[in-house]
Symmetry: C2
Subunit: 201 residues, 2 copies
Amino acid sequence: MRQLSKVTCDMSMSLDGFTAGPRQSLDQPFGEGVDDRLHRWMFEQAEVHADVIEAGTEAGAFIMGRNMFAPGRGEWDLDWNGWWGEEPPYHAPVFVLTHHPRESVTMKGGTTFHFVTDGIESALARAREAAGERTVSIAGGAHTVNQYLAAGLIDELRLHIAPVILGQGERLLKDVGDLNLEPVHVAGTDLVTHVTYRVGR
Amino acid sequence: MRQLSKVTCDMSMSLDGFTAGPRQSLDQPFGEGVDDRLHRWMFEQAEVHADVIEAGTEAGAFIMGRNMFAPGRGEWDLDWNGWWGEEPPYHAPVFVLTHHPRESVTMKGGTTFHFVTDGIESALARAREAAGERTVSIAGGAHTVNQYLAAGLIDELRLHIAPVILGQGERLLKDVGDLNLEPVHVAGTDLVTHVTYRVGR
């Protein structure tokens, strides 16, 4: 039997545990008042963190929640193909969890968005199939990651902790149960602390 | 004018942001089901983390909340002199924030507990006076630390993040406002990630 793909998750998080602020919208995709505060390290120190950024995007397939793919809720606006323009940075199949069926959308550069309506385990099975021997990355947002953590389906959690207090918003690590975590790597700069956890089953 | 003492704070915290579980009591001082889960690194890897532990106890004065000093609430049980036996590990004056006046208590080894009823700024002024040129350490618990952070009175926050999810309990970094944080040091083992933040004013 073929070994199952490793499942990773890279998340930028505030020191008080949020991956986005409240009231995410088209104008403020990371929530009110957040802008790039959680991701300054990626933009202002891209060269310093090149290995970390590369590791976060090299998966063979990605999974994300509907709320990460689109600002709208409910029925699809078929003109919306994600936040990332014509050539999204995934360059691989991306499985979007949703309650609303939609045809797959093929973008430039190898990214195809598939819309999965039958739950996180089904999405993971399809992502593993697509990834082959490469990893599957749970791309976000917090609610989606929490669901996969609670189900024991993530092997490696790579937190990028920004030195920022948001006070409210989308909370990571909520309702995930008592995880078996082992920090295996730690590093950082003045804009971020990277901690990689191996997650036991 | 003499330079004010540096104010530090060492806290062990779960990855999801708690410094203790729910319902702290005489039998379970760190809350239900927590035991030493946040502090295994101190007990099982004391030699590895000797410098960190030393740095956390070398202050010239300490401040703690009533709830860290005693399991009871309300009027004092005068037989209770803290959790730490006849010779507490502080070896310095300890200022305990409380609404209930009590005479100071001198223990062995240089620890004296003083009970302060007129608020956090008064306690800090007294602790600075006692510490002289040495640092003042805010010893806990979470609510006390949060108050000092919100007031902009902590210069250096040293978090010791245990790879543990508690899910509920006493939350650090709650209602502290938008702190100006800069990570200045990071290190760790399989039982803890140490991150030191300089806190701007």
